[in-house]
Amino acid sequence: MSGSVSRMGELMLPARREFLRDAGLGFGALALASLLGEESRANTSTGASAALALPHHPPKAKRVIWLFMTGAPSQVDTWDYKPELQARNGQSLPGADSQVGFFQTSGKCLASPFAWAQHGSSGTWVSDLFPHLSKHVDDMCFIHSMHLRANNHAPAAMELMCGFSRPGMPSMGAWLDYGLGSMNHDLPSFVVMHERKPRGDDQIWSAGFLPKSHQALAIDARRPVAIDNLALRTGHTLGSQRAELDLLASLNADHAALRPTQADLAARISSFELAYRMQTAAPEAIDLTQESQHTHELYGTADPKCKVFAKQCLTARRLLERGVRFIQIFAGKNAAGDGAVDDVPWDGHNNIETNHRECGLATDRPAAALLADLKSRGMLDDTLVIWGGEFGRTSDSQGGKGRDHNPGGFTIWMAGGGVKPGYHYGSTDPFGYKAVENKVHVNDLHATLLHLLGLNHEQLTYRHNGRNFRLTDVGGHVIDDLIA
């Protein structure tokens, strides 16, 4: 721990900590910076980012969007083609391990019910669930050998996003905001979007023990009001509010002048100014009517099968453009009777075919549109897109047509943001059952992602209850092979 202290330099000195706490990292610090009339963006010499002396090295990615396929897609029905599994449908699965699934599995191979074909110049095999995304395989960097520990949804989602399979730990978006600060004046840095909340709820995107300034703004697709308390009260106008805020600022300034040792009084004054700006900036940022008809069609915002995710992806692109650093969308739509429930739509326990077909229709087109849109705007180079769920599924069947949970081997892909395009890393065994070659643990993935964002995962620490915590706990290796 003492090693970390010296590596972290000023951050861990008590006086500096006191300052940061009083200034309220993130927004508060930004507010302080803007109060002083300075530009507030990451890498400047003011505010929290400068105090943290971060990033540690030049980043390849500035933004992340994680398309979280809630409920866990099956690797062998999406991106991990296994001819051996296809050929041996109904036969015993070699190495079948009754400890893998969450419930009971048959030990018998279940061939993928989908049609497979090769795509792109990389010749990547993709099932017919993704007619749109398959056009982008040459931009994708696949990890076929992901694995983690937890074998149920909520703990695994926490493990994938926070590095620990129990609640109370900060998620990656919060860590990034803590480490890098904000890139914008008037929007939060970390945004989560969901329809039905995923199983595990807010614990998956928690700021944990980090200051609350790093918590996510969660946008619930079911609610008419996306962000709380943005709307002016009845009878109020921006003009009348401005008059009040001017009065407030002068009174608060008088109050603060008498208390010169209290830095956060000034931060609070400017937080009202920031809030004032957010009232117009945030609604503008999520206003999809400003997008062209062509863009709406590209994403499929009118397609009843995928319109929810389409609107979320399009909103996300607008937010990314405006300096939001980390966005996570929980996605999927299950069919009746496939064994999944709304909070884990990809969870095809009873019928992998009907379940994944429906989830594919709900996610394929918008995700592909997002890739195309980011690329056409030149944003894909420094925006990291990640597609994946909390674990994979068993190669043997559950109840004949379904698949059970499998944290032992699964596929995620990334695109843009400094990863190798059209690249495949690691592999599962010939049945797609367990990761065997170049295995990538969640800690390794996090270490690599932080590296792409300019952060050293061993140096990004926060002291809590007597210990310096990391996103990567005590593990994690940066996988250089993934980096372009």
């Binding site: 993130g26 051996e84 419930f103 609640p167 614990q203 944990g208 010169p260 809030a275 395009p421 495949h424």
Partner: protein, 1048 residues
């Protein structure tokens, strides 16, 4: 991106490698690699279920790394690793894979040469398992190296030298120069340091400032204007001390201080994880904390109850509720056989880590996998501590919160019942025999002619439909009339030799098709009939019987859907009568053996209507001793008379008095339907009996001893053992032997043996080590009492100054912050012990000190020499916690509902204090969350204080704050009696300031607000609502002031 792709060689396709191999070869590779390189999952399963538990239970005590460390190792043999087994002990290899003859372990188990385990030979089947396992090649996944654990030897003596682990020592107060400033001894410690640094303390704060500070600190609420006035007008020298005493005695004190404690014990009212299931009885713990703090329950008792209240006072409401502490942490909502054990160890970890942080200021959780890297907390200590908690699990206890009242109510009821009971007995004794005799003579014979006995339903229930009893002993279906229903109807009878039943499906005007079926066309399909006869009075020779049924006759049946099909036990076939809407149908069935027990029978008739057809709309059943003769349409007699006759016969045959003998109750039951005086006396008693008071049981979410509780799982999972094992690296798969109960050795006095703290005064072991743990925590001479005292006084200091004497209240270990005033901390720790652990006495000491009463005035010396104010030379403003901001808004608005205890729900608009809002882990309350409410999953000692624009948005725009502003405006205008259409004037501004900020505005402030108010009122042009809104705007802006949320 495309450019880069083009310039890159073809991407690597690792999977293509597999594509070149033939399928057969591949499968062979996979199979063989699994067999040779490591044990197969089946082999591991065998080892884990059959071998390891036996080794752990019977051998590790003397043959493991743990035994080695404890100096208990025998014969230099270690059997807790594969390497140890192969190496063997003094006599040679314990296990030779594949060769049971040469494996000394087998010989020892068989008591051939050695006799192991010494306590007694293991069962033959266990020994056979070991032979099977050795034949398999002794597959063993325990691959840790022989000196298995990466040990850090803790130097206990050195560890104990850290200040917080030392025994409590007396402290003398330092001398100071400016003794006149000193109000109590706290000030001597603080002033001595300031004088040494050349800093002078700030003067005492103005009375109003002090009032607002101490009100918020002690009660979490601002002073109400009348309370403020009372204090400001009290000119006596101890006016402030009197105020402090009033506040310490206020019920609001416990509500405020409980919130601090709940932070440190990760209190929540739901399970977290998946589903986040509610714990409706969890708030009893919170209520208990409030009550205990208000009552100034001594802190040692406060802790003892939380750790072991259920054992100390079983069944007591307060003691039970207190144990909510142990089980307040998150717990998964889905548990299967595969996850139950790791989840149990996570739960124990949550308990012990919380105990460590909240009570001991120790990071005990760090020793789960290995010895603590910095503090003297051994891996062994961790498992000793969780072994103390090994039996504790969560439960919903049914508790009577007020047994005294329950007893009073019961006594009152018994007194009321006595005369009716006496009357009843007198009737039975004196009148009943005569009435029965008269009835027998007059009416009994008339009842004997009918062939059927109409059965009077006792209970009736359907899976879907609502069943109701009607006249004529019929049961009719209403409500959800759907296909695939099941009716269960029961009857009591004292008839013997019942040989069959008649089932009638009656017309029903209320059914869609008029009956007999509940379908639109009057259709039904009865798929299965099951009859069970059970004895009313259990006896060894009376076993329930299920007679086989056969069809005797029916009024009508569809071809292929005969009545016999309802009796064939096949749910897919059944009896139906199509095209007969509105017509009554009947069917008679015979039993293969007559039924009827000698002390009465409970007949259960189950009618299943499986498939797509409906059930019957209205049914009636009758019984007969000769169903063939009674016939399909035969007459039926009502049940009561026949039952009375049967009971009289039974009594007479046994030579008993029917009116007072064992038949009496049943006899009266039936006879009262025939005889008015009997009914009256029986009903009178029944009416009182129905009022029998029941205790108002509460479901209390608490800890208790038991097997592991498995909740919310979709599979049957057996509850687990209560044993706790030491886990290498914290992994459930790497058990190192049973963990013995004990404590963190560094917190025990050097001359005290650990086991003594687990023993009763008579040296017998305590019934449960949890009791030992409960006393150990506050045992000053022998146990962790000194540490617990330091931790709690530091917490109280933290809450009154915004920073503890140690700034890391959850960690007083070597990695915690150093104390700014170590002697003061020690002095306070001594005080709380001397004051019999009274928390209020320490609060009082702190808030009446001159240190606490300082103003915020900034001195140049202080600013230069101690910019962080560590020496406490002035008072820094502190921001209110979210709960206090919300409570203050409600209080100032005059809408606060002061009701105590219970659940106030999840709606921020509920007018209750914030502590009563539910803590649902997946649904934090936005208002509180935005103001830094911590996540209720880990102990939090010092909350973060962030400043974010969402707080400003909340204050500016949220309906909750606006509504408080409107309420205050209304209140002020009403109090000052200003007519709705009149201008408000400046008096209202003064009143709003006093309510919200406990002071009058300055001239400048008054002028500024008056300007705003005048402009807004002018715009309203005499409109009453507009004027009111203008005043609300003023109130709203006052709420937005920094001063409203920062307390000087």
């Amino acid at each position: 991106m495309e450019r880069r792709t083009a310039s890159r060689p073809a991407p690597i396709r690792r999977r293509a490698f597999f594509g070149l191999l033939s399928a057969g070869l591949l499968v062979g590779m996979v199979g063989s690699s699994l067999a040779t390189a490591s044990p197969t999952p089946e082999q591991v399963a065998f080892f884990e279920t059959k071998i390891r538990p036996v080794l752990a239970q019977h051998c590790y005590q003397c043959h493991s790394a743990e035994a080695l460390r404890a100096g208990k190792l025998k014969a230099s043999l270690l059997v807790d690793s594969r390497a140890g087994m192969a190496k063997g002990g003094e006599s040679g290899a314990a296990v030779v894979p594949g060769n049971r003859e040469e494996s000394l372990l087998v010989a020892a188990l068989k008591y051939e040469g050695f006799e192991m385990p010494p306590a007694g030979k293991l069962p033959d089947e266990v020994i056979a398992d070991f032979e099977t396992w050795i034949d398999m090649g002794a597959p063993d996944p325990r691959d840790e190296p022989l000196a298995s654990i990466d040990e850090r030897t803790i130097d206990l003596e050195e560890g104990r030298q850290h200040w917080s682990y030392r025994r409590l020592a007396p402290v003398s107060t330092p001398d100071v120069k400016t003794a006149g400033w000193v109000k109590n001894d706290i000030d001597r410690f603080v002033l001595a340091k300031q004088e040494a640094a050349g800093i002078a303390p700030a003067p005492e704060a103005a009375k109003a400032t002090l009032a607002r500070r101490v009100f918020f600190d002690l009660t979490g609420l601002p002073p109400a204007p009348d309370e403020l006035e009372l204090f400001l007008e009290d000119g006596s020298p101890d006016a402030y001390e009197k105020l402090v005493d009033r506040l310490l005695a206020s019920p609001r004190f416990g509500e405020r201080q409980a919130r601090h404690w709940l932070d440190t014990v990760r209190f929540g009212e739901s399970g977290g994880y998946e589903f986040d299931g509610d714990r409706p009885g969890a708030h009893h713990y919170r209520d208990w904390v409030i009550k205990a703090l208000n009552a100034d329950l001594p802190y040692d008792e406060f802790l003892r109850m939380q750790v072991a209240g259920d054992l100390i006072k079983p069944g007591d409401y307060d003691a039970t509720a207190a144990t909510g502490f142990l089980v307040a942490g998150p717990y998964p909502g889905q548990v299967t056989a595969k996850t139950v054990e790791p989840i149990r160890y996570d739960q124990l970890d949550d308990m012990v880590a919380t105990l460590g942080s909240s009570v001991l200021g120790m990071t005990l959780g760090c020793a789960r996998c290995h010895d603590h890297k910095y503090d003297p907390i051994g891996h062994r200590d961790y498992y000793a501590m969780i072994a103390c908690l090994g039996k504790a699990v969560q439960r919903d206890a049914d508790i009577d919160p007020d047994p005294a009242t329950t007893k009073q109510r019961r006594d009152a009821w018994l007194a009321e019942r006595a005369p009716a009971a006496a009357k009843f007995e007198r009737f039975q004794r004196e009148e009943l025999p005569g009435r029965l005799a008269r009835w027998l003579a007059a009416d009994a014979a008339a009842q004997q002619s009918a062939g059927w006995l109409a059965l009077d339903p006792e209970t009736f229930k359907a899976t879907k439909a609502t069943l109701l009893e009607e006249a004529d002993d019929t049961v009719s279906a209403s409500g959800k009339l759907e296909a695939d229903d099941t009716y269960v109807i029961t009857f009591r009878t004292h008839q013997r030799g019942i040989a069959g039943l008649r089932l009638e499906g009656l017309a029903s005007p209320s059914a869609p098709g008029g009956g007999p079926g509940a379908g639109k066309d009057g259709g039904f399909r009865l798929s299965t009939v099951k009859v069970t006869a059970a004895p009313l009075v259990a006896a060894a020779d009376r076993k329930p019987v299920t007679p086989k049924l056969s069809a005797l006759a029916t009024t009508f049946e569809d071809p292929g859907f005969e009545f016999a099909k309802a009796l064939d036990g096949d749910g897919a076939t059944g009896w139906s009568t199509s095209g007969q809407p509105g017509r009554e149908q009947a069917a008679v069935m015979a039993f293969d053996q007559p039924v009827g027990f000698d002390a009465g029978t409970l007949l259960t008739v189950e009618l299943k209507f499986e498939g797509k057809e409906h059930g019957l709309a209205r049914v009636r059943l009758a019984a007969s001793d000769n169903p063939v003769r009674a016939g399909l349409g035969g007459a039926s007699a009502p049940q009561a008379a026949r039952e009375v006759a049967a009971l009289l016969d039974a009594a007479r045959a046994g030579g008993r008095d029917p009116a007072t003998g064992p038949e009496a109750a049943e006899l009266l039951r039936w006879f009262s339907r025939l005889d008015k005086p009997a009914a009256e006396v029986r009903d009178a008693l029944a009416a009182i009996d129905a009022k029998e008071p029941k205790p108002d049981l509460l479901k209390v979410y608490a800890a208790g001893n038991g097997g592991w509780v498995i909740t919310g799982n979709s599979q049957a999972v057996k509850s687990g053992s209560q044993d706790v094992f030491v886990l290498a690296r914290g992994e459930v798969g790497r058990k190192k032997g049973k963990a013995e109960a004990g404590f963190v050795l560094a917190t025990i006095a050097t001359d005290v043996a650990e086991q003594r703290l687990l023993s009763a005064p008579d040296s017998q072991p305590l019934s449960d080590p949890r009791l030992g743990l409960a006393s150990f925590l506050t045992d000053v001479p022998q146990g962790a009492g000194p540490l617990a005292a330091r931790v709690i006084v530091n917490r109280l200091w933290h809450h009154h100054f915004g920073r503890g004497i140690v700034a890391t209240p959850n960690d007083l270990g070597t990695q915690g912050d150093p104390a700014t005033h170590p002697e003061l901390l020690e002095w306070l720790a001594n005080r709380i012990v001397e004051n019999r652990w009274s928390l209020k006495s320490i609060h009082r000491l702190i808030v009446t000190s001159a240190t606490y009463r300082q103003s915020g005035a900034v001195s140049e010396a202080g600013r230069v020499k101690d910019p962080d104010n560590k020496l406490l030379w002035h008072r820094k403003p502190t921001r209110l916690e979210g709960e206090s901001i919300r409570d203050a808004l409600l209080a100032v608005a005059g809408t606060l509902d002061a009701t105590m205890y219970g659940r106030a729900g999840l709606d921020v608009k509920a007018p209750r204090r914030s502590i009563y809002l539910n803590v649902k882990r997946s649904e934090p309350i936005g208002f509180l969350q935005v103001f830094d409410q911590p996540e209720p999953v880990q102990p939090v000692g010092a909350r973060g204080v962030a400043t974010v624009p969402t707080q400003a948005l909340t204050m500016m725009n949220s309906p909750f704050v606006r509504s408080a502003a409107e309420s205050l405006a209304k209140r002020v205008r009403t109090t000052l009696a200003i007519p709705p259409t009149d201008p408000s004037g400046t008096a209202v501004i003064d009143a709003c300031f006093t309510a919200a900020l406990a002071r009058q505005p300055s001239e400048t402030e008054r002028a500024k607000f008056a300007g705003l108010l005048a402009a807004r009122e002018q715009a309203a042009k005499g409109d009453a609502a507009g004027r009111q809104a203008a005043l609300a705007d003023v109130c709203h802006l006052i709420f937005c002031l920094n001063e409203f949320v920062y307390v000087d």
